[in-house]
Subunit: 355 residues, 2 copies
DNA sequence: CTGAAAGCGCTTACAG
DNA sequence: CTGAAAGCGCTTACAG
């Protein structure tokens, strides 16, 4: 029983080797040695730890302290470029503060999200950053009532008792529609999702308010989640265009919708922006490289990642103090490209007339 | 000391409540009760566990058994669509087998990858699925020599003593080049990365062999990782095209290179495939939606995810047996679209002549 | 300035 | 069929 086959060294072995108590070693390791342990001993212990490359066993630490230094980031779909790019920046920021992030995808399914939370409760994570699926407020409240740290991301419940970092979807949409109106588009359609999630809901509300103020019609199509990438979704959109021949511009409420939509527009040989102007939420390489490049209402990825991590770390630090809620609402960034320029239409028309 | 403020219930409390020993409870929980504990007692314990919603504390389990049910997936960049889509499928598969996956990005930096491994050693993960950065074979060997389960993904060292799941990059590239030659392209350029990683290296080797066999010239440009998405990379590619006016087709070795390249082709007003045929590795929405749609050598995402998870689970299961290495090499899938069709060129030329 | 000891919540070899 | 007890590797209140 002298040497274990596991090469890993423990505090106990260090203590024996240096003829000190494990208490002393532990104090040194955790920087609680000041004014308790002599500088001499501290130096000796530190040198030895360095030499043997000692690393504390984190499950023992967790068992003892209840802390894991782990934050869960539960998103809708980690392969969606919006979420994966935020995730990447979060990982970096958290790592630098001694935390690691665990990512997981809910597929927007309540049952899946509940399973995941249950699993992470067993694993005792320190905080939850959650992009809730629909009908999930009860679960969030349950988590909070169990004294867990919960930060909502991307979508939220607009109440005083939640922490959140989200985009100002309502204003971003209004801004987008007003820009299109300013460009001279008259009949602007909104393609969205049938959903109560704040993100989607607020975008639709923003659209409705903007067109109402401008005395324009609400021309909108709301798809179900599961139809977006299916033939059914494409067909519904196709039909919608046929039924509304007067549409001269479209705002897509998500990047997935835009991809489906752009395929349909291509199939129907509709020229952008000549036949129809196009704007979508969320920027991607695809939109920049598209012919013509697509105007987007971009979310500030880096800033979102920074706010959500800093906010969560603050909650973690103040865990046992009275906490103020972290409530951050960021503005979107309209990136104008050719797909929404009415001026392009004028130029084109002039050319055509000349022919 | 009766009730703890932490609501969580422990084995000890269950034992006391039911007037049984913690041994008995533990056996029931771990399904080791058969032929040891009476059916009656088992039923009683199970009912109680169900009632109070008991969940074992995983740090205690880990401390005791050394098992974490956690697998690390270390990729180059989790926001790259190739890696994030594989990651998502892996997450699903692993979850169904009781494992969770922790993702992290190395940015292809050795130092970063070493830090990450060191962190995960503290956390005691059960297995490592690694996309190694350059010059990393020594670190991989160190991990293996410490008795860790290591599975290489995407890139590998072609030796008997490693586990890996990779694409057959050499053959995939040959197949691609041969297809282009078959289409009638004569001067096919290869845009790659300066790297010793097997993925990149094998693709370049495949290209060189294919053009050599066909008695064509090797017309290639290799960029550095850090230049791909920078102005420098674009400029180098632009210059390369100017210096090689005879190029009539291009194979991009990664999807990032293709995106940079497509932007440059657009800037130079080169028409695809009329002026230049284009193929890239890895499929993305972008390539399908591009005008014209881009032909790709796609990797079989779902199959890769399945092989890598099943292989890793097998290694985990056989941990204490003699292990055969898991060595899987999958074939790429050429998805032909307009960007590489020489026939398109003929059609276009005919039309132009008519005008 | 330093140490002995309890205990976090489990698993499992051993005894009966 | 069931249980008492050791021990995984830590942290920390307490004693000196």
């Amino acid at each position: 029983m002298k040497k274990k086959n596991k090469s890993r060294i423990s505090i106990k072995e260090i203590a024996k080797e240096l003829n000190l108590s494990i208490t002393t070693i532990s104090f040194v390791i955790n920087n609680k040695a000041k004014n308790r342990i002599s500088d001499e001993v501290i130096a000796k212990v530190e040198a030895y730890i360095e030499k043997v490359g000692y690393k504390p066993n984190s499950s023992a630490q967790t068992l003892r302290t209840g802390k894991t230094n782990t934050i869960v980031f539960m998103v809708e779909d980690i392969s969606d470029p919006f979420f994966s790019s935020v995730a990447k920046e979060m990982e970096e920021l958290a790592f630098n503060s001694g935390y690691r992030i665990i990512f997981c995808s809910t597929e927007n399914k309540k049952s899946r999200a509940i399973e995941l939370i249950s699993m992470f409760k067993d694993k005792q994570v320190d905080a939850y950053i959650i992009t809730p699926p629909e009908d999930f407020e009860g679960e969030i409240q349950k988590l909070i009532s169990e004294n867990q740290i919960v930060m909502l991301f991307d979508r939220f419940y607009n109440k005083a008792d939640y922490n959140y970092v989200v985009l100002n979807n309502f204003e971003a949409t209004k801004k987008t529609i007003n820009y299109l109106l300013g460009e001279g588009f008259e009949n602007i359609a909104f393609i969205g999702l049938e959903s109560e999630l704040s993100t989607l809901f607020d975008r639709f509300e923003g659209y409705k308010e903007a067109v109402a103020i401008a005395n324009k019609n609400n021309i909108s199509l709301l798809l179900n989640f599961e139809d977006v990438r299916s033939i059914k979704g494409s067909d519904l959109f196709d039909e919608f265009l046929n039924n509304n021949p007067n549409i001269d511009a479209i705002l897509f409420s998500t990047n997935s919708l835009a991809i489906t939509g752009l395929k349909v527009l291509k199939r129907k040989n509709l020229e952008i922006p000549l036949d129809i102007g196009v704007i979508t939420f969320d920027d991607r390489d695809l939109f920049e490289l598209h012919s013509p490049p697509i105007t987007v209402m971009a979310q500030p990825i880096s800033l979102l990642a920074k706010e959500v991590i800093n906010g969560t770390l603050k909650l973690l630090k103040d865990k046992n103090k009275v906490q103020n809620k972290i409530q951050v609402v960021l503005e979107g960034d309209l990136v104008i490209r050719k797909s929404s320029k009415h001026t392009e239409i004028e130029i084109k028309r002039t050319k055509m007339t000349r022919v």
